[in-house]
């Protein structure tokens, strides 16, 4: 069956309104793009859209109660919510180093979730 999907290109301020026409998953045509980047973007958004994951995880005895984390590369868009939900259960102990791996290979995507800053231990918490 032939279907049309709409996307808004995010690659430059033109923000082209893209239309991708496909039949049973086979891309027939991309319309509305001003350049090649727009065509590639529409194809990626149709075939395998990916997004970076950013959220926070809980930290005990840190100078702040939360640590911001980020994926090392974009993961499939449909998995983002699940990834964030699974990270809601993580509790770490301070200190945490910048770039420290928090969850390796999240949801078997090949992306690691890493700390996006250093988080020092609270002075009053003492050392182990």
């Amino acid at each position: 069956m032939r279907k049309t999907h709409s996307f808004t290109c995010i690659n430059c301020p033109l923000s082209c309104s893209l239309e991708l026409v496909e039949e049973d998953g086979e891309i027939l045509e991309v319309k509305g793009n001003d350049c090649e980047i727009g065509r590639r973007y529409a194809e990626e958004e149709f075939r395998d859209p990916r997004r970076m994951v950013t959220t926070t995880v809980k930290v005990r005895n840190g100078i702040l109660p939360l640590l911001p984390v980020v994926s090392t590369k974009p993961i499939p868009k449909p998995l983002v919510k699940e990834a964030v939900r699974s990270l809601a259960g993580v509790v770490l102990e301070a200190p945490v180093e910048d770039g420290q791996v928090i969850v390796a290979d999240i949801l078997n995507t090949g992306a690691d979730i890493v700390a996006s800053r250093r988080l020092d231990r609270l002075h009053s918490a003492g050392n182990d």
Partner: protein, 438 residues
């Protein structure tokens, strides 16, 4: 009385602007540099901006806000720049003398040989846009909600309406959704989104959050806690259209309705402000109207990219170092004013005193326009510019001009930045710059 500290440079604010300026001055040879910050740690607003998209121009890669800040914090920690955290500046005088206070040292008197203003900006509140209704809990600015969720671990509400489609509002629509709240919709008074397209797509479309353009909130219901808001369509005059009201039940109204440069201290120091930017009038060195006081970043005008904040900070920091180390002859000639021309809302720097260095002019357009050439124009001659497929008000434009182009500026008449339709052809001017994201 306590001892007066007399550093080479004092920087007020430790966000990306303050950190960048302090580092640039230190690397240019200033030995005694001090950063004064009211918060408990360095980084300014960046630690709470946990999303990615920062740094595509400065670092040629995209980072999260905390990562971008961490790079500068790591560099500062390798220097002997003095950092005063938890320290509030109370007063600033035209001779650059600072009165500050913290709980450990009490009142501090600081008389720096040069000063950089890097206080950033703050959010416009309900009271500045005059929304009628009750005054219940649950009306919160987007940046404050961002701090609650990303730093404090608090969720300000469960059913949220967002007013304003600036980048922070869009980012928070996604953030609330991922944290389990329901975002009923984003309402924008203008007929186009206030934020970057990337954020409209990745924060709203990805999560099926509706964006209602040409709409605003016209009443806030609820005596103790927000219970609902009335939204209305607006006409071309931006006034609500009678009969279009709709009551939307919610427990939280998030406001993303603009940022204001924070210049209370600048005013105390007698720094002249530009009504168009609400920030100091600066020259090509980011020096304000007051001798030895420089400004950079969002205190000057609200940038959309942190990369540009860093650029202005480096210019200000280097210039402060030059001011202390080399001194400066007072110019014999009057400064040149750079006027906003066709389809330009404002330009920084607003004036040129020296013409000896490359200058980046930053400006916003008044309305979207396709196929243009933003240009630095003197008299009738275009000096420096580049083609752009499209310019839009949310995305600041930068035009660079080198000493060669600026050399003969004085003889040629009125200097302005203008956006002209691109008639094709080659000519001066380089490639389009990569687009960053906030």
């Amino acid at each position: 009385m306590h001892k007066v500290r007399k550093p080479d440079l004092a920087v007020i604010g430790a966000g990306p602007a303050g950190l960048g300026a302090a580092l640039a001055a230190y690397e240019a040879g200033l030995k005694d540099v001090m950063i004064i910050e009211r918060d408990v740690e360095l980084g300014g607003i960046l630690p709470q901006c946990i999303h990615d998209g920062f740094g595509s121009i400065v670092f040629k890669e995209t980072l999260t806000g905390p990562q971008y800040a961490q790079r500068f914090i790591d560099r500062v920690e390798k220097t002997d720049i003095e950092v005063k955290l938890n320290t509030m500046v109370l007063d600033l005088k035209p001779d650059r003398s600072i009165t500050a206070v913290n709980a450990r040292e009490g009142i501090l008197e600081i008389r720096p040989r040069s000063l950089v203003l890097a206080m950033g900006c703050r959010e416009r509140t309900r009271h500045q846009i005059l929304i009628p209704g009750y005054r219940p809990a649950g009306v919160i600015c987007a940046g404050a909600a961002q701090r609650d969720i990303n730093i404090e671990g608090l969720l300000p509400g469960r059913r949220v309406v967002i007013l304003g489609s600036g980048d922070i509002g869009l980012i928070m629509a996604r953030r609330f959704t991922l944290e389990g709240a329901e975002v009923e919709g984003v309402y924008e008074i203008m007929d186009h989104p206030g934020g970057l397209t990337r954020n409209v797509v990745q924060c709203l479309h990805d999560f099926d959050i509706p964006l209602h353009l040409s709409h605003t909130v016209t009443f806030i219901h609820g005596r103790k806690r927000v219970e609902a808001v009335t939204v209305s369509r607006v006409g071309e005059d931006l006034k609500p259209v009678r009969g279009t009201e709709r009551v939307v039940p919610c427990d939280t109204l998030v406001l993303s309705v603009g940022l204001i440069p924070e210049n209370e201290l600048s005013k105390k120091a007698g720094v002249a402000l530009d009504p168009a930017t609400a920030g100091p009038v600066v020259d090509e060195r980011m020096e304000t109207s007051v001798d030895g006081i420089f400004a950079c970043g969002n205190v000057m005008n609200v940038f959309d990219l942190v990369d540009y904040v860093t650029h202005t900070a480096e210019v200000a920091g280097r210039a402060a170092a030059e001011y202390v180390l080399v001194g400066r002859k007072r110019e014999r000639e009057a400064p040149l004013r750079v006027e906003p021309g066709r389809n330009v809302k404002f330009v920084v720097p607003q004036i040129l005193r020296g013409l000896d260095r490359e200058v980046s002019f930053y400006f916003r357009v008044r309305h979207p326009e396709r196929a243009v050439r933003p240009n630095l124009v003197v008299g009738e001659k275009a000096l420096a510019g580049r083609r752009a497929k499209m310019v839009r008000p949310p995305e600041m434009v930068r035009v660079k001009a080198g000493p060669e182009e600026l050399k003969s500026l004085r003889e040629r008449g009125e200097v302005r930045i203008e956006v002209m339709p691109d008639t094709g052809g080659g000519g001066e001017g380089g490639e389009e710059e990569g687009d960053g994201a906030k």
